[in-house]
Symmetry: C2
Subunit: 298 residues, 2 copies
């Protein structure tokens, strides 16, 4: 009997599949205007871990959907994640030169094209959901409503980035920090888990469990990320290390200390594992991915 796949192997396999689908969904570099499509592909195909797509797939497959049905949604959330990175890295925001081990989009294509490439990926995400997702229209509308909410301003992606920028250099309360993390990183991770379940036709009670699981791993992921920013090198991270500290960003270690941060992340992961283990579905991979989040080194 074959050995069970590790989370690392699972993520590598899923990332390859996702990249294949992204190739299909992204306009060709030869399609005019060429530069914008080159910029979009440059940032999309820079070798991210594809954690969010893997969560869409693991969640949807747990409730019986096929990978093929889930892929448009998996790719859409990765497009939204990448758009947010491109815009966050801009000189007017975090002014970062390095991302996924390569120069950031605006360093290569200039600011105007980077802004537009981000806009274009956000727009394409909704086009892929509306035009490529093959579930029935009611579910599709629910998925689009959810994705547009988590990418928005209220306890969601953009709102988290705003609060993050506004609190740079300030001493933030534990409450503000949780708001930033829950919104900036948490919403999209939680949403990825949730839309997998929606596409698969999971029931309301199951969707609530998936949402609870997603909220916990989303926060755990950001805490782990904050800890890594302090403890890992730029080479390990593929982005500038120590950047949060230098920019006086609101981080978990800065507010709670490194040890308390690690404990909190582990606690959240244990809760997340307990939640999905209680579901009558094939949620082993969701449990393993939760554990992986605190164990990862980049």
């Amino acid at each position: 009997m074959a050995q069970a796949e590790t989370v690392n192997e699972y993520l590598v396999r899923r990332a390859q599949e996702v990249n294949g689908w992204l190739e299909k969904f992204l306009p060709a570099e030869s399609t005019p205007p060429e530069t914008i499509h080159r910029a979009m592909r440059y940032s999309m195909m820079a070798g991210g871990k594809r954690l969010r797509p893997a969560l869409v797939l693991a969640s949807g497959e747990a409730f019986g959907a096929s990978a093929e049905h889930l892929m448009p949604a998996a790719c859409a959330v990765e497009m939204i994640h990448t758009y947010s990175l491109i815009h966050d890295d801009l000189p007017a925001m975090d002014n970062d030169d390095l991302r996924r081990g390569r120069p950031t989009c605006h360093k290569v294509f200039g600011e105007a094209k980077a802004i537009l490439a981000g806009d274009a990926l956000l727009t394409l995400a909704f086009n892929v959901l509306a035009a490529r997702l093959s579930c029935d229209s009611d579910r599709k509308v629910r998925v689009i409503a959810e994705v547009s909410r988590i990418a928005g301003t209220i306890e969601a992606l953009i709102g988290g980035q705003v609060a993050d920028i506004e609190n740079e250099g300030r001493d933030v309360s534990a409450q503000t920090l949780e708001y930033i993390h829950r919104s900036k990183t948490g919403a999209l991770i939680r949403g990825s888990v949730l839309i997998g379940g929606i596409i698969a036709g999971a029931g309301q009670a199951e969707l609530e469990k998936l949402s609870d699981y997603g909220a916990r791993i989303g926060l755990a992921f950001q805490i782990a990320d904050d800890v890594l920013d302090v403890t890992a090198s730029s080479e390990q991270l593929g982005k500038t290390a120590g950047k949060d500290q230098a920019a006086k960003k609101a981080t978990y270690p800065a507010v709670h200390g490194i040890e308390a941060s690690r404990r909190r992340a582990l606690e959240l992961v244990n809760e997340a594992v307990a939640i999905v283990s209680g579901l009558d579905a094939g949620t082993e991979m969701l449990a393993s991915m939760a554990r992986f989040i605190v164990a990862r080194s980049s």
Copy 2:
């Protein structure tokens, strides 16, 4: 018997209605994070003509949909139009200080917030379509697919802006100019007309006519806009006049001369009027709006 409403009166009435709905769809300024919602409202409520929403309404009503059913889509296209203006005005793009008679979003809120306010309006547009539009899910998905396509990169909004930026200061061919206009302004105007028809349940042949009409008035509108940039004052326009010329933008008068530009706009409008007049629907207002486009002074 009451006098028929003029296009000007129609637009003023529709703009008031649209503004009332936008008030409902935009997050309150008191909702955290407050600054992003202030920035979104600042740019949205700056008193635009609401031409695109009026086209959604006139087109949808011609085929029997109610204003109430059409309003979420009307507001969504205005959000997308406004997001594109906010991003186009940024220092990295057109670097404009004045819009709709007021300082541009980044002059008031800074670049970071202006980028995020644009992102947020684009995102909110899709949320309003998915969560607030009340037609059946199949039509809703069709509308979202269409809106996300016309806001995208291929013969669409972002693609047009890219081509516009890339051709600044160059002598462009008549063909490139038409590509820019068809994409940057034309796509959203054509799309506004089309989605009104989709929501109202117009048939395929009718939708094709609406699309043909929309393509013509979209190009006529941009030609008229180019002409106004040369002939009107900043005060009349509510934005910096002569800006296109100063930035050596690709414009219709620059390529074809003012008189030929005026003739071409009139020709397009006559074709547009003929197309909608041939439809078995209440298209009088669509015809009047086409004529208004070349007659306007701001």
